[in-house]
Amino acid sequence: MTTNTELDARSSLRWLWRQLTSMRTALILLLLLGVAAIPGSLFPQRTQNPLAVSDYFKSNPGTAKFLDQLQIFDVYSSPWFSSIYILLFVSLIGCVLPRSFEHAKGIRAKPSLTPKNLNRMEFHAELSTGNLDSAEAWLRKRHFRIRRDANSISAEKGFMRETGNLMFHLSLILILIGVALGSLFGMKGDAIINVGERFINTPTSYDVISFGKLQTEKNLNPFSITATNFKATYDLVTGAPSDYKLSANVANEVGTTEESKVVRVNSPLTFGSTKVYLQANGYSPLVTVRDKSGEIKYQGAVIFLPQDGNLTSTGAIKVPDMQPQVGFIGSFTPTYERAEGGGAISSYPEVLDPRLLLSIWTGDLGLDSGIPQSIYRLNTSDMQRIGLKTLKLNETHDFGDGSITFEGWTPWVNLQIVSDPGKIYALLGAIFAILGLLMSLFTRSRRIWVKANINKSGVEVAGLAKNAAPGLENEIASLVKGMKG
């Protein structure tokens, strides 16, 4: 009884495995993978655009909740998407590995026996002249693999076709391994630094940082980057950027001698498998806030976030050391222009005529409430607005409880720091995949048989091309010619 159920279980497992590794299943899984990838391009994804996702939640809360249960906002890390490609790769391995072993055996084996009836082949001719020796010589010269029997030759060529085909599919597995290594041992983070500041690669220096499942912050590369200068060049007519260039002093162990380096959009800094990319830029206005007595309560560069292509930027200045606390909601325009319907907007991304627009609030900044706050936003729930002011460069505004001076600006850059130890495997996989694909596409696989006529003189010639590849007819014609000559 037990053996019977065991047998049943085993045979149904085997049946499942055969189904999974069948070409039809692989084809369905392949198409399914394509279809499953579609929703991720139609709905915003958390990994790419978390803001758009939260906007979607605000405007359609009901549908968003439902879609979120289906993981529509995390398609590419969802179990249903993963299960499709994992099944596909299991199916691929189950199909390709046995074929590889078979192919390796086939390379060492001799070509199969010459079939009895050659006249059924794609090309067939009976010749009154010619003999097996001259045919063999011709075939050998062209590197055919040959099986010579008493009165026949079986020859084949084009093993590279299957070799390339298998190499292509094995390379896809290598790419998947590379992707998996990257997501397990990788790391990715963003840090905004003002020009003039130094970035030290420790977790606290980051604005956002995430580690792969098997990676910890201990493995961060110990480097430091000091931004010395940032130059953005813009098209004078359209205001479109044409070049970004960050000059930086870089030390590969914090404290060692610094080297000066240049970072551009398409040329990141490299520290081993960690790369540092120049990702975005903006302006930080420099302000000084004094209390009534004239004592400095806040001084420094405040990072503002760009809102449009001309770098109209917004941000918040928080001064917790004053009594009562003071906060400013600010807007910085590098090239000031009055917007329609009031307000201000920047008309060019370079600083030509800067303004700092402020709305001034007093009360409780809410910094001690324990709830984390964005440094770019002011929580005004316990505050009161006491004024509005537009400041020109070096202008000071007295708001009663104190004063604020707009003293200048400095550019900031957003550094994206990424470590992906798997990408080299993905790249190798990609290169081998292309080579394999080309190899299998441009190799013709074919067989040629030559058989001595038993009754008459002369030979019988036949050929068969795999996948109806062209050119066999000409090849046989030249073999026939070669035998005669």
Binding site: L30, L31, G40, S41, V75, S242, Q279, A426
Partner: protein, 296 residues
Amino acid sequence: MSSTNYAFISNYAVYSAIALFTVAFFAHAIEVAFSLRNSGDKTKFDFTRTKRSGDLGTVMVVLAFICLLVAVVSRGISAERVPWGNMYEFSITGALAFTGAYIFALWKYKIRWLGLPVAISVLLTLGTAITVLYVPSAPLVPALKSAWLVIHVSAAIISGGVFLLANCIAATYLILDRYEENGGRPVWALKLPTLEALDQLSYRLVALVFPLWTFSVIAGAIWAEAAWGRYWGWDPKETWAFITWVAYAAYLHARVTVGWRGRKAAWLCLFAGSTFLFNYVYVNIWGTGKHTYSGL
């Protein structure tokens, strides 16, 4: 000459190409229409009568190809970069690649019957390009300043041109297949190749260009690694490039391994080609993501 001069030359060359394709369109239409001859109770085709008209069509297409080449090159000179930084430029370069693929196939496989659909497709592409998509010649945003722009986008354009041609052939197959099922081909289609030949031709084109498309996706990944810090991020353009790749991979497997031929294969081919078109239109115009740059 200044860059504006070159920009003007480019625009005139595009208009000239449109004019030439219009002539080619009429020449091919006349070729088909006037080769009809009623002999007794049967309608027959006699292409010796309209050979000149067909030749004229071919000459016009070749001239239009040269005009497009001039348009693309001078656009590149005026912008001081390769001319595929926006959708307008991608369209005219794509039309050039498509026409080139047709001329190559004409020389190699004798497929003049494709002249009419080719002329129509190119006219539509160029017409949309110059009316809807046109933007003045300008330098590139920093992210596009890379040698990979040349490698990645040129591979994508050539693949696109050939995919489109394969799609035209697959569509022709399906139309003729329907006719043959319902009693026979109409007279205008009598001179077209056999269904089997069409089937083979569209397969060959796809098989030939699939490695190039694979390369284009990989080159894009390498570039993305250099510019954006990751080689693959499921950006909408990347996602659709992947879908196209998967669809053509499925098509090739269906043919080679499972043995699909004819109607089923043609539908799959059309589906795969339409994912490429969708990627081009949807992601560029309505999509968001890193592949959308200002001014289309």
